[in-house]
Amino acid sequence: MADQAVLRLEGISKAFPGVQALESVSLDVGKGEILGLVGENGAGKSTLIKMISGMYVPDQGQIYFQGQAVRIESPRRARELGISTVYQELALSPYLSVAENIFMGRLPKRWGGCGINWRQLYSQTRELLAEIEIDLAPRLPVEKLSVAYRQQVEIARALSGNARVIIFDEPTAVLTEEESVVLFRNVRRLAARGVAIIYVSHRLAEVLNLSDRITCLRDGKAVGAMTKTEASYDGIVKLMVGRELDKDLFTRDAAPQRDVVLEAERLSQGTLLKEISFELRRGEVLGLYGLVGSGRTELARLLFGLARKSGGSVKIKGRVANIQTPRTAIKCGMGFLPEERRSQGLVLELDVAKNMSLANHSYLTRWGFLRSGEEKRIVQRGIKELTIKTPGLRQKVANLSGGNQQKVILARWLTRMPKPDILILDEPTRGVDVGAKAEIHRLIRELAGQGMSVLMISSDLPEILSVSDRILVMREGRLAGEISQHDATEEVVVTLATGT
């Protein structure tokens, strides 16, 4: 048994100041096996991965690689052993070509090591890509690739380094349904070649589908391990959160035709968006689905004044609104939760209170000075109403979990004075754990019930289907269709999105 495991962890513990991140975790993965690793945010998954890939060294415990006790003290050592990681945030050099990225650090040499053998590099790359059936031009700069293709470059890089173990860290977080299917095929193919795979994801359905075995972490401990046949969705969720979730579809009043709050008419933006018209009514959640590159994020950014339109118009409550900056969008009563919370939503250096009041400055000022008492009151209310888990309002927002960070951004708009009546949410639950996800869904429905109009972009189909009143589907910069909630099924939505 021990000999068969390519990688085995025994009793791994790791503590950070004030936190026991991992406590005596053991797991193993064999040749050609796919091990699913699940757990809520903060359960210790990332720490565990960083330990295997040489970013951290465990405080206690032992790692065995092909039966040998090893000490992986650096990422370099991990690579030498044949352990590769495909990270959530991809680590490629944007200005270099696909081939250079794949063979970075191992470029074929000539002229006694002074030059690069380009011909060999490109032919090797072509072979490698053909072998794993990835259709990419070796000379293309990575900058020009979509996230999904960049991920494939990462996979190719791992393989070219003769990886024995590949760790996938939330690989589908940035992918659409379609692209995910391609990824799953690639993962299976890797396993079939004998690579041991550790697959980390929030999306339980795919973990269940892919993995041969599943290990579940909670609060830094391995709380369960099961084989594919033993595992069930409900069982894992229960293990992860230590309680059961209510999965009921949200009940809605048979949506009466309510007044239109936002009306887009033939909105265009260069080649990205083409003549998009739709209406957003009071108190509805309008879902917006589309594959990556279909223009959904571009549409959101355009509506919020973060991009310039090249044609069309937007009416807000019946009046034409010329929105060119977020400032005017906010004045028109809009709030926006951007796609990337760390790079676009939060100021990580600042604390919870400062992040929450960032859009509320005009209310919180008196003769230029900050009304700190009022700020404190408002922020405390926000923390309470959205049940944000934080040691205090002066905690650095970078120290919160993904779900709580997302709630801080939501609270930013909900505590704003005056309160916005249109919310644009771009991937509100990306990288958020199961528990917080359900809470955010419930919150969105509650807000709609109170009369808030929500435009919710998501590449998570179950989310779109269960939270929206109506669903818009985009394809290649155009609106491909509109579906009402009770006509919507995964098939209908995906068919519209892919045009098949």
Partner: protein, 331 residues
């Protein structure tokens, strides 16, 4: 379970607080250590005159560095401050030299700061030129202008007594036995402290430096903020230039040379991040004092001023290096 959780949290909280306290105390401890060491080594160090001199020699850098703190927190950079001081100095100097009214001369000097600040701000905010490049360019341009204007010579400022309301008061006068430049440094830093910590403007400076995109999404007018910030540093540098001219009783085109780098060094030594979003004006002032005491101590011990430069650079490397290492461990 709940209790354990809250205990962990308390522990984290405590470590956070003491951690930052340690960080804050570092500079103060360094300052005290330096004072003790030099006080022991040199009998002249802890005399009232010498303390006053040390403060005086740090005061102009202090004013410039306090302004620099705002720019650096906002994610910017300003190399033009030293040249700005020089051009202001020669313009004010020439006007006073030719008998023009003092108030008018001072206003003209501050206008130099306004113009330089606006050019910097406009280039960074509207033309999107990197702040380093922008201010490197304006640094040379403004220094050149100072030499062209003055034809390479200095303007002596005669006959202004160091008492209020004369021009000489600014640089040479005293308020309650404290040299005026020191008083001005304190006033400027206190004002900037209040601005950074208790006003919306200050809050937005931090947000801007921490994450420009997030600031924009929240409706903060990024470009307007940037222009105001460069304008402020420009005016503060011009103000320092005026005080310097008063102190030297002359407008000199080579004045303020190297102030920009010393000011940046102090801001960084004070714990600000060149990436923006982080920094405190009180720590900048502490860092200015540390560097000032170091310089003064070297002089008293009869060490070469070249050695002083070496020591100052070494302190900067050491301090930032230690900070980096500690941060890495914290992660």
């Amino acid at each position: 379970m709940l209790k354990a959780e809250s205990q962990v949290r308390k522990k984290i909280d405590k470590e956070k607080r003491t951690g930052s306290l340690g960080e804050r105390l570092g500079l103060l401890v360094a300052l005290i250590l330096l004072v003790v060491i030099f006080g022991y080594l040199s009998p002249n160090f802890l005399t009232l005159t010498n303390i006053s001199d040390t403060l005086l020699s740090s005061s102009l850098i202090g004013i410039v560095a306090a302004g620099m703190t705002i720019v650096i927190i906002s994610g910017g950079f300003d190399l033009s401050v030293g040249s700005n001081m020089a051009l202001t100095g020669v313009i004010v100097g020439s006007m006073l030299h030719n008998g023009l009214p003092q108030g008018l001369s001072i206003i003209a000097g501050l206008c130099v700061g306004v113009v330089v600040g606006l050019v910097n701000g406009f280039s960074v905010a509207k033309l999107k030129i990197n702040p380093l490049i922008t201010t490197l360019a304006t640094m040379t341009i403004v220094r050149g202008l100072a030499y062209i204007y003055s034809n390479g010579t200095s303007y002596g400022i005669y006959g202004t007594k160091p008492v209020f309301p004369n021009f000489g008061f600014l640089g040479v006068g005293h308020l309650f036995y404290i040299p005026m430049p020191v008083v001005l440094m304190i006033v400027v830093s206190v004002v900037i402290y209040i601005v950074l910590n208790h006003t919306i403007f200050g809050r937005e400076v931090y947000a801007l430096g921490g994450n420009q995109e997030a600031a924009r999404v929240c409706g903060i007018q990024v470009e307007k903020m940037q222009i105001i910030i460069y304008l402020l540093t420009g005016i503060l540098a011009a103000f320092a230039g005026i005080v310097l001219a008063s102190r030297l009783s002359a407008g000199i085109p080579s004045a303020g040379n190297g102030y920009e780098l010393n000011a940046i060094a102090a801001v960084v030594l004070g714990g600000a991040s060149l990436a923006g979003g982080k920094g405190r004006v009180e720590d900048t002032i502490l860092a200015v004092l540390v560097l000032g005491v170091l310089g003064n101590g070297f002089v008293l011990m009869g060490l070469s001023s070249f050695l002083q430069d070496v020591a100052r650079g070494a302190v900067l490397l050491l301090a930032v290096g230690i900070d980096q290492m500690r941060q890495r461990r914290a992660v």
